[in-house]
Amino acid sequence: MSSIDQTTTAHVHRDDVGSRMGMWLFLFTELILFGGMFLIYSVYRFQFPDAFHLAAKELNIVLGTFNTAVLLTSSMTMALSIVAIQRDQKTLSMVLQLITILLAIFFLVNKYFEWSVKFHHGIYPGSEELLSKDSGEILFFGLYYVMTGLHGVHVIVGIFLIAIMTRMTRKDIITKDSYVRLENAGLYWHLVDIIWIFLFPLFYLIT
């Protein structure tokens, strides 16, 4: 009896590969979520190519490109934070995670200004200005707000997720020997990056 107790306390149940696989399976559901929206986008773009081109002129390419660079950089700092924790550089890992969070907030601030300008011009879902436009343009802006909006929600979730990871790193829950949580948060963050990689050319670069 006592020998069983000893083995159960001594053996730590851990399966990092399984943990990452679980994260990937979750990411596949995200792929279906966004994939469905890309399907809708492709059909409507196929039906209203001219309206989509015209509507895309309203978007700010400079701001979009800048935000792409911000998100790509945040993805790199996230990946680097894992290398840092692998090398037992706790402080560096935390700094890199915090930079990732700051870049993510910066992305959202840019997004806020971008949307504000559009709202100011009267272009928001259901507005008179928008409804007076061609149906293809209404669809473009509908998709624009839903897809970049849902992506924005993912960025917000990512910020909280990485913040929790930073706290865990500080409390030595995430360490050189146990950092699968940080890896999974990283996987989520990179997926958010990949979605933006496709959103950017499809909305900003079709003029």
Binding site: M21, W24, L31, S42, T68, M76, P201, I206
Partner: protein, 97 residues
């Protein structure tokens, strides 16, 4: 404690990530530059090819698929394959409207 073995294959240096980041930034610049040119119907194709290359880099290097067990890559491939099938079936219908 044999679980720790799989960490070794994971640890790249800092260098590769910075290199991939530079490649991603360069590809972003290329895709913006190409969009500025007028190459007609190839615009969408070029943008999507560049986006796919960027996504590939993120998947293999940032998301560690290259050093992960092969099962992961197979799973991702199958997931993308089915998304691809959805697009093909959808447009096999819509293209003839």
């Amino acid at each position: 404690m044999e679980k720790h073995d799989n960490y070794n294959e994971h640890s790249h240096g800092y260098g590769i990530y910075i290199l991939v980041w530079l490649a991603l930034m360069a590809l972003t610049a290329v895709t913006v530059a190409v969009a500025g040119m007028n190459i007609g119907r190839f615009t969408v194709a070029t943008a999507l090819v560049i986006a796919a290359v960027k996504a590939y880099l993120v998947l293999t290097i940032f998301m560690h698929l290259r050093s992960e067990k092969k099962t992961f890559s197979v799973f991702v491939f199958v997931a993308l394959l089915f998304l691809g099938i959805s697009f093909v079936l959808l447009f096999s219908d819509y293209s003839f409207y």
